[in-house]
Symmetry: C2
Subunit: 391 residues, 2 copies
């Protein structure tokens, strides 16, 4: 039987039926009154999701485009920045900064670990005199499954370097983990459509503080396509500065409505449950989790090591071939060393259980014996009725 695969990767994530349906709409005039009505709903709903009183910019671009926009709109060639690195995506901040001619300093901890507020405090106090124009953080580090404590890290930054821009990658955390741009005093947060937003890739989002807007005012060569000023002006008229990805925006309108119906608390609780079930299930099958502490594990993606004697390739191929379930390999240095189960977006208990059950079958077939039902029993033991999604 030919059927669609179940994507349990940290994006792209499965799509709600209503999103898929609207994606096949006839052509849309992007300057029509009807499309402006769509944007008029979408813009405030994005502010709700970012928990920000300010505009959230909507880019037709991958999340990486919004990451570059965060820096190119606020920083100038030669300015000093600090990047907290513990994986591929936090490292990307530094890579982008390099192509923009910034003066980069990194604070590194090994992949799978996280920066503690204490560690950052110590580092910043030792560098009290350094004029960091920006400090770059990563909320959910998609390459490892770490959830960095960016609320607490930002509070530490404000003590010693109150004027530094705090720029956060919230690509796999927004719509999955708790986040509040204004209350957490974050200056810029960026996200992408193929994650918690339950959309195909192609849109990215950027929320910002007044501090970031002020930095933009003195930015010398902010570029054009991602230029904050143009998006700000267009948004006031419920439009976009250039022809946007109309069909993805029709999907976004629906997805944001679904998210608002579910409510932020329930969304966060559902992802927490997905994470708890996955971690409990994997542990019960005797698998080693890559991120040790539950409190710093991402609600969006869970990484684990293959059991002794089995390869990542064999486990992934078994899940794909027999069950049509796709999980992700590690990236770069971690390729072939860890596997990653994505459980964000349009994912609830049903898909998590299917994945754990299929994994048990595959491990047994590959000769790694797992007690019958160990994974799913452990997973069910941590579910909470309050966040049941098919009630």
């Amino acid at each position: 039987m030919k059927k669609a695969e179940l994507l349990m990767i940290p994006g792209p994530t499965p799509l709600p039926e209503a999103v898929r349906t609207v994606m096949s709409s006839p052509a849309v005039g992007h300057r029509s009154a009807e499309f402006k009505d769509v944007l008029k709903r979408v813009f405030p709903n994005l502010r709700w999701l970012f928990q920000s009183k300010n505009q959230v910019f909507l880019y037709t671009a991958s999340g990486t485009g919004a990451m570059e926009a965060a820096m190119s709109n606020t920083l100038n060639v030669g300015e000093r920045i600090l990047v907290l690195v513990n994986g591929v995506f936090s490292q990307r901040w530094a890579e982008i900064a390099k192509t923009l001619g910034l003066n980069i300093e990194t604070l590194d901890v090994p992949a799978g670990e996280f920066h503690t507020p204490e560690m950052l405090r110590e580092y910043l106090e030792a560098n009290q005199g350094t004029d960091y124009k920006a400090i770059l953080l990563t909320h959910s580090e998609t390459s490892t499954g770490v959830l960095n404590p960016i609320k607490e890290l930002t509070a530490v930054i404000r003590q010693s370097h109150p004027d530094a821009l705090v720029i956060a990658d919230t690509i796999t955390s927004l719509g999955a983990a708790e986040f509040a741009l204004d209350n957490w005093d974050i200056d810029i947060a960026v996200s992408g459509s193929q994650k918690g937003f339950m959309l195909p890739p192609g849109l990215s989002f950027l929320g910002l503080s007044d501090r970031a807007w002020k930095a933009h005012q003195t930015c010398k060569n902010p570029g054009y396509y991602f230029n904050f000023t143009r998006y700000q002006k267009a948004q006031l008229e419920n439009t976009t500065p250039y022809t946007p990805a109309t069909h993805l925006i029709l999907g976004l309108d629906i997805a944001l409505t679904l998210m608002m119906e579910e409510g932020l608390e329930n969304i966060v609780a559902r992802h927490a449950q997905n994470q708890a079930m996955t971690r409990a299930g994997l542990k019960a099958m005797g698998l080693e989790l890559f991120v040790k502490e539950d409190a710093y594990a991402s609600p969006s993606v869970t990484s684990f090591l293959p059991p002794d004697g089995l390869t990542v390739d064999a486990v992934r191929a078994g899940l794909k071939k027999r069950f049509g379930i796709i999980i992700a390999d590690g990236q770069k240095d971690l390729k072939g060393k860890i596997m990653r189960i994505g459980h964000l977006g349009h994912i609830s208990e049903r898909e998590v259980l299917a994945t754990l059950a299929a994994l048990e079958a595959v491990l047994n077939e590959l000769g790694h014996s797992v007690p019958a039902g160990a994974g799913i029993s452990a997973a069910m033991s941590v579910t909470r009725k309050a966040v049941a999604t098919h009630a």
Copy 2:
């Protein structure tokens, strides 16, 4: 009856059914073997459309993003460029250049007119000593409906300034007008998905010469998201550097196949016919064309003035309200002064006739008397059997 509108605007353009269907596909893993197979077909097909032996880069962005990429990847702050301006989109080259810190010179002719090769030759000979790093052209100027003779203009540039990069906006000309990147010795051409490509907006394309690639090698701050080097490297492995707009690429795969089945010559002939029919029909209804010479009128979009006593708003509203046909207003200074009928992409005789017939009805209703059938008779008199699209 509620039915989809017929978009006769210069993009977004109507979508083939097969494109619409594939846009509603389930989520797609962008690093999967299956998706790499799609890209493996798409990349050479894009080279075919650009008529280039080199890679064509595929960006998840509006066409404006690719325009910026053309400059940010090859030019450095302070370098001198010349922009040939005769409308909103050619002016956009200069606006982008400004935000990139380039040293801009423009050669202007009024909107609706075009730069003759003689005029450019004279200008360049008078500026023989000026070291233009790039000269920027616009093939089909979407805001006016002029088709600039960029093949001939490029030949002129090569005589006096052989090393200048010739960068062309082919956003509404590719897949509509004759174009050949390699043979015409153009260095960079950019296009967008919602035009001749028959797709929703969200993808853009950039073809380039060896000369442009060489300029990229010495570019100091080329940025990250649009960085040529990253796209070049990824394309060799049939992938993209960042998560691309998967669903639009599934549509692109289908649209390019449709275009190859039709053949470049037939595509160009069909658009020439759309243009000839539209111009003949409008003239026969006593309407004034904004672009006077047929040979320099775009095959993608035709602009005309409202008849004495009628406003652009009244004519457009009549077409929309009664017939669900959308035509475009003028832009910026031309807003309210001209109307634009787009006839590119998934458009053939049927839609052109419907538009002319509806326009006749609307003009009559608004009190501008048109002889019965004048427009469609004139349009039919210029059609050629050879390019019939429903044979």
